[in-house]
């Protein structure tokens, strides 16, 4: 595999908050066109990992090689890198004073320097890709459902034509029906070979959309493999216990 096939290479990434080590040497790669899913217990540092990748949080050590550049090196213009890495948040984080359409346009105009016309065309295209209803284009975030808001957030990331999109538990704040419409969009993106790194508890999505599943536990990648292997036949005890807990939750508790 040549370097250009790999969008992201992470080597021995570490991060501690005060005395508490959160990432204890994470290594993995994401290939172009691949959907990679990270599962693991809450509060263990999965969000921290994603935020280190675009340096919203500054890692302590290791390497993050994005498109061949180690973005932790000095002299790297992190804003240029961030513009190529999409980020979709658990709580959507739309800009509250802007309509759905304007939320998608603003990055194109302010960061990419596009004209209003050009930005509008691209934004409309992106909003159609996430199947946002046309009558919602000019609504404000507070007037949209959670599912609509998250789809706008995905469109906002897509419109920037990123090399990879990072998803931080994109459906955790949604009830199952609204989560479904967001997951449908993400499945379509996976089919279209949009490169995605997804932190989620949605085992169904991992099963039918992921190319590989990583189990994040105790600050490292504890186990990884094909979705069926990890989800149906995990080798390690901790992975089995985690999956059992999730399964218990989804049928209404033990």
């Amino acid at each position: 595999m040549s370097d250009s096939d790999r969008v992201l290479i992470i080597r021995n990434l570490t991060k501690r908050f005060g005395e508490k080590p959160v990432l204890k040497g994470i290594s993995f790669e994401v290939e172009r066109g691949e959907t990679k899913v990270i599962i693991g217990p809450s509060g263990a540092g999965k969000s921290t990992l994603l935020r280190c990748i675009n340096r919203l949080i500054e890692p302590d050590g290791g390497e993050i090689i994005f498109n061949g550049t180690n973005i932790l090196e000095r002299g790297v213009d992190i804003r240029k890198i961030r513009a190529k890495i999409g980020f979709v948040f658990q709580h959507f984080n739309l800009f509250k004073h802007l309509t759905a359409l304007e939320n998608v346009k603003i990055g194109l105009k302010v960061v990419r320097g596009m004209s209003d016309e050009e930005a509008e065309k691209k934004a409309i295209k992106a909003l159609r890709m996430v199947h946002l209803e046309e009558d919602a284009f000019h609504k404000y975030p507070a007037q949209l459902s959670g599912g609509q808001q998250q789809r706008v957030a995905i469109a906002r990331a897509l419109a920037m034509e990123p090399e990879i999109i990072l998803f931080d538990e994109p459906t955790s704040a949604l009830d199952p029906q609204l989560a479904g419409e967001v997951l449908d969009v993400m499945r379509e993106l996976a089919k279209k070979k949009v490169t995605m790194l997804v932190v989620t508890h949605e085992i169904g999505f991992a099963l039918n959309a992921a190319d590989e599943v990583l189990f994040f536990y105790d600050g490292v990648i504890w186990e990884k493999g094909k979705p069926e292997e990890i989800l149906y036949n995990p080798k390690r005890k901790e992975t089995r216990e985690f999956l059992k807990r999730i399964a218990d939750l989804s049928v209404g508790g033990p």
């Binding site: 804003r79 984080n93 739309l94 603003i106 302010v110 507070a142 007037q143 920037m160």
Partner: protein, 229 residues
């Protein structure tokens, strides 16, 4: 012996109206000066480094801690002695009221800025925006709108506090009323009229504030809260 003369009502009203005009002009200049200083102070306090932040906090704390009358006396009487710079009474009144208001306005804008949630900042950073772009396109448009009700309220306070400028010899509304009282010895009548003039200016402002809060508030968030006196 007190001698008193009656003043025809139309003349009295015209005098009070002239005073009210001065009151309005003084308040508008003062609130604008306060805005011009207060907004940068709020930005310094939120985004500045340690030193800038401290300077802004000292500025704000000092001006909020000193009575307006004392600020006036420092500016009008002490400045010429201290630095040989004398201001006209009107200018001194604007500067005094303006800088005191800037301290309160910086508080208003700072809480507006802080009310923009961290998640939106993270989203803007993730798009590749610079800090200045985030302030300009994401934070200020929301912070300013959220500040409208409190800012209008501050304007009402400035408007009423212009009366303290009479201590500098500014002939504003209260001063005109005092003048009429000294001629007629009818304090209830003329201070009462002056009070009505103030109310006539303030009441429409509170309606305007509520209307602006709804008109310019962020859609779907229920608009801004009501302004009450």
């Amino acid at each position: 012996m007190i001698t008193s003369t009656s003043v025809p009502l139309d003349i009295a009203l015209r005098m009070l109206l002239n005073g009210a005009k001065t009151t309005i002009v003084l308040s508008v200049f003062s609130i604008l000066l306060g805005l011009l200083i207060g907004l940068p102070v709020a930005l310094m306090e939120t985004y500045g480094g340690k030193t800038l932040r401290r300077v802004a906090m000292v500025y704000e704390g000092t001006l909020r801690g000193i009575p307006l009358l004392a600020i006036y006396f420092v500016i009008f009487y002490s400045m010429p002695m201290l630095i040989g710079l004398g201001l006209s009474p009107f200018l001194a009144a604007v500067v005094g009221l303006g800088i005191r208001s800037s301290a309160y306005q910086s508080q208003i804008f700072r809480s507006g800025i802080q009310a923009v949630d961290e998640g939106q900042i993270e989203a803007a950073l993730s798009l590749g925006m610079s800090q200045w772009q985030i302030i300009r396109h994401i934070v200020l448009p929301q912070a300013l709108r959220m500040s409208i009700p409190a800012w209008m309220n501050e304007y009402v306070i400035v408007l009423k506090d212009t009366s303290i400028a009479l201590a500098l010899g500014i002939v504003e509304l209260t001063r005109q009323a005092t003048y009429l009282v000294s001629i007629t010895a009818e304090p209830f009548r003329y201070y009462g009229l002056a009070a009505l003039f103030y109310l006539a200016m303030v009441l429409p402002l509170t309606y305007l504030a509520n209307w602006m809060g709804k008109r310019y508030g962020i859609k779907g968030t229920g608009g801004a809260m009501d302004v009450r006196l």
